[in-house]
Amino acid sequence: MTKQIIKLTVNGEEQEVLAEPRELLIYVLREKMGMKGPHVGCETSHCGACTVEMDGKSVKSCTMFAAQAQGAEITTIEGLGTPDNLHVLQENFKEHHGLQCGYCTPGMITRAHRLLQENPNPTEEEVRFGIAGNICRCTGYQNIVKSILSAAAELNAAKEAAQ
């Protein structure tokens, strides 16, 4: 199948990649761009392990063609903090035991990151609804919800202090 050039910005870096029209975004990210944080869990959009941020929205990269991401700006877990300076969400997931096997974690944190952009001060119910597209088999969600609420409080406190 004829390949086409896809230009996209991943974690702030402009990139060009050759892909067939049928190639899924998740495989291009994982196998051609080395972004192995997003995972494949179901290939039907149910589990959210493949969640990335695209042009300000959470998307499931396992049910999108890479070609649909032409010109898009994408953020994956790799773009949310560095080893020396973890994102507040990453810190809080560690602090509140918001993960176990780690397979859902990149998608979950990426989704939570978007959620807090959409709603910086969510209630517990809003967090639960907001992450309902991301399945975790290990934690029972209780500590994930706690991690996200705690991160939100921390981000809001920092914002207030800055004002």
């Binding site: 990453q90 397979y103 309902a132 088999r137």
Partner: protein, 804 residues
């Protein structure tokens, strides 16, 4: 000097037993830097993909691979004919049966592996799968084990119908085994003469562990040095190495099996699957690495399912409610091949723990395993070898007996609990329970939820419902469970002949830090965090200075792996024992350095001190350094040790759970108002991790009880092959849980720990189910089968006339 380090500071610095140490795994996982098998990308690596059967039972008349082979980028297409000369078209199962690697003449379940395509990338492999032409001739399909036992249709034509199977005589060509424990005649006599007898039949439906990461592997045969490396989602990497060696004929030292990070297992990743065998063969044939990773549909349709037990019980009691006998028969649907993952002598796992937490003087269990046209498996989904089935059975029988006697089931449980002073307790079906204090746990749980108040509220709700003031009824689910975890001992338990011990090896470095390796493998349990805590307390080196490694058979000592909650009871014990070996040598070194007799020094947190002179001491750091730089008479240099631990008995964690649920009778939607879980797992290593395990196990229990199932239609089509149909709860459906505990240490475990990862699942399933059934009890419900999805709950309400 105010900043003097106190003894408490030194204890805290260890981050040892009992503290909620943060997990060391989380730094990489939160940054997306885990290393799962699908993350591997080796130079020249090929992709494998399966052609699978659309039929549940059919003869294969031809397979034509020409078109697939002609596709650019396709390297090979393997069929049973290609594997036969190697003797690999069939493979042994963990249950003493054998299983087709690739369909040999016929297929026996939908989704069965028929051919293995090897291609340059996943897209070409998928295209080629479509191009393989397989002609089938349909055969009659059997999906019901009772029908199977009466059918003339022979499912397993490869077996001699008159010859005994791996577990004794077979009654019918579709029968696998009969397993009996206890005294059937004696039990029947007691039941026949009893004041009260309750009988019930229940189906514990087929479901699936469904870890978020599916199964997969990368096989790499290095033809230059003759070494095979196999990375994969293995809960028991060492056993996989032994099996790979026995199957392939490659000597075991030339095989290296590695479990990298595993994205959840829950029993699904214990077995050996055709994908592993085909990947190995493909790598041997092509000389390059071959990756095979299944997709979700393949995972749900073909890799190991759980449960599928049809259970019939009779329980007898005196007029006062004292249980006198228990009879249980199970018809076990094992699917097309008996691929249960149980210790060899236990074809129905530890189902004979079905007397539960109760002092039942006489009992009998009979299990008949049966073949059907369904996927093989029968693994323990977040439980220790069929304990979930056993606990569900007894906790339902208790409820049914309470209904029969018109009494409160909490009180019925209390009357029958094994008493604290009866431990170690020998059960009627042959187990020795190590320790327990059930009454204390039960009283604590009932008090915490104000049980009497709940019953009053429920009675008021029933009245309000009858007056037409509400359409919501209330259920109070109770369960009290006893788990049996930590297999071995070796004398009872083996997998394919390998005794179920486990191991730990530790090497203390000169500067006082260490690396320890174990025969287990974490799939999210946090071993790198918690095993280091055990070692820290035993050795006196901070957990932060101890690296834990597992899963690489070239470096880790042999062990039987992680499933059945055996890591803490067995490998955790090995860790404690290896720590004591280190301490024994450290004591001699310390005594030499302090110029006193060995007996004149004693261990204190992180050092050895001279008895009666605590100002004279050597820290573990100083001792480690001395071990490498001083010639100490009579003592070898270095500081390392290994321990292989064969547990004297299993451990018996227990717990008391209460679920309060509202049910909308018109929609069938249950709402969990409250869930209280008291767990007693003996000595607690890391309370934060324990709590996390309980949240997760309860959520998997909620899933199984309230909707998750692998269902088939009459043609053997799997109706639940995607996450569209297979229920995995989201954050929206799951409540916040209240956790609590008591501590009754195991008397035989070196640190008294019992294991906890599976307890919440084992106790949770009956608790959720009992809540649903209890809501309908005032309206005449006795028993309805799980899963209690909205439709089935609505149907129960409808059957009881609640919509009239």
């Amino acid at each position: 000097m105010k900043d003097e380090v106190t003894r408490d500071d030194r204890v805290a610095n260890l981050k040892g037993l009992g503290c909620s140490r943060k997990r060391v795994e989380d730094a990489r996982f939160t940054q997306g830097k885990g290393n799962y098998v699908d993350d591997m990308n080796l130079p020249g690596m090929l992709t494998g993909d399966f052609v699978r059967s659309p039929y549940a039972h059919a003869r294969i008349t031809s397979i034509n691979t020409d078109a697939a082979m002609a596709l650019d980028g396709v390297i090979a297409v393997l069929t049973a004919k290609d594997l036969e000369p190697l003797g690999l078209h069939w493979m042994p199962t963990l249950a003493g049966d054998k299983q087709m690697v690739l369909a040999d003449g016929k297929v026996l379940f939908q989704g069965q592996e028929v051919a293995f395509v090897v291609a340059k990338d996943r897209y070409i492999a998928s295209d080629a799968v479509e191009l393989v032409e397989v002609e089938y001739e349909e055969l009659p399909v059997i999906v019901d084990p009772f029908a199977s036992m009466k059918s003339d249709v022979v499912l397993r034509e490869d077996l001699d119908p008159t010859a005994p199977g791996a577990h004794g005589p077979r009654k019918h060509h579709n029968h696998i085994f009969t397993w009996e424990v206890g005294d059937e005649d004696g039990t029947n006599a007691v039941i026949d003469d009893a004041d009260i007898v309750a009988e019930e039949s229940m189906y514990y439906h087929r479901t699936h562990p469904c870890p978020l990461e599916p199964c997969g592997c990368v096989a790499s045969m290095d033809k230059v040095n003759g070494k095979l490396t196999l990375w994969g989602t293995f809960q028991a990497p060492h056993v996989v190495r032994t099996v790979a060696s026995l199957l392939s004929g490659i000597e075991e030292h030339n095989i290296r099996v590695v479990s990298p990070d595993i994205g959840g297992g829950f029993g699904n990743k214990v077995g050996v699957y055709p994908g592993y065998v085909c990947s190995i063969v493909a790598s041997i044939v092509t000389g390059v690495p071959v990756k095979w990773v299944e997709d979700r549909m393949e995972n749900l349709m073909s890799t190991a399912f759980a449960r599928d037990y049809w259970m019939t019980g009779k329980i007898s009691a005196t007029k006062e409610g004292k249980i006198t006998g228990l009879h249980c028969h199970v018809t076990a649907d094992h699917g097309a091949f008996d691929a249960c993952a149980d210790p060899t002598k236990f074809p129905a796992g530890f189902m004979n723990i079905c007397t539960g937490s109760y002092d039942i003087p006489i009992a009998y269990l009979g299990v008949d395993g049966v073949y059907t046209n369904k996927a093989p498996g029968g693994v323990s989904y977040r439980c220790s070898f069929r304990v979930t089935e056993a606990v569900y059975f007894i906790e339902r029988m208790i409820e049914v007996l309470a209904i029969e006697m018109n009494m409160d089931s909490a009180e019925l449980r209390r009357i029958n609990f094994i008493k604290k002073e009866q431990f170690p307790y020998n059960s009627a079906l042959g187990w020795e329970y190590d320790s327990g204090d059930y009454h204390t746990a039960w009283d604590k749980a009932l008090k915490a939820v104000d049980y009497e108040g709940l019953r009053k509220e429920q009675a008021e709700r029933v009245e309000a419902f009858k007056r037409g003031e509400t359409r919501t009824i209330m259920g109070i689910g109770l369960s009290f469970f006893t788990e049996i975890v930590g297999a071995g001992p070796v004398k009872n338990c083996d997998i394919l002949g390998m005794g179920m011990f486990d191991s730990c090896e530790i090497r203390i470095h000169p500067t006082g830090s260490a690396i320890a390796r174990l025969g287990t493998i974490s799939q999210g349990q946090g071993h790198a965090t918690t095993f280091a805590q055990i070692l820290a307390s035993e050795i006196g080196i901070s957990a932060d200075s101890i690296t834990i490694e597992e899963g690489d058979t070239d470096t880790a000592p042999y062990g039987l792996g992680t499933y059945g909650s055996r890591s803490t009871p067995v490998a955790g014990a090995a860790a404690a024992m290896v720590g004591r070996k280190i301490r024994a040598k450290a004591q001699m070194i310390a005594a030499y350095l302090l110029e006193v007799h060995d007996d004149d020094v004693e261990f204190d947190v992180d050092r050895f001190v001279v008895k009666g002179a605590p100002e004279r001491f050597k820290t573990m750091g100083e001792i480690a350094y001395a071990a490498y730089n001083q010639a100490i008479p009579g003592i070898e240099p270095g500081l390392e040790a290994v321990s292989y631990y064969d547990p004297p008995n299993m451990t018996y964690p227990f717990g008391a759970y209460v679920c309060v649920m509202d049910i909308d009778v018109d929609t069938g939607v249950p709402t969990i108002k409250r869930f209280y879980a008291l767990d007693d797992c003996g000595t607690r290593i890391n309370p934060m991790v324990i709590e996390g395990q309980i949240h997760g196990g309860l959520t998997e229990a909620l899933a199984v009880a309230l909707g998750q199932e692998i269902a088939y239609d009459d043609m053997g089509n799997c109706k639940t092959g995607t996450l569209m149909d297979f229920f995995l709860p989201t954050a929206w459906e799951v409540p916040n849980y209240e956790t609590d505990h008591t501590v009754t240490p195991s008397p035989h475990h070196p640190i008294g720990a019992k294991g906890v990862g599976e307890s919440p699942h084992v106790g949770g399933v009956p608790c959720f189910s009992n809540a649903v059934q209890d809501a309908f009890r005032p309206f005449g419900n006795r028993h309805t089968n799980m899963p209690h999805d909205h439709w089935r709950i609505w149907k129960t309400a409808n059957d009881l006339g609640l919509h009239d």
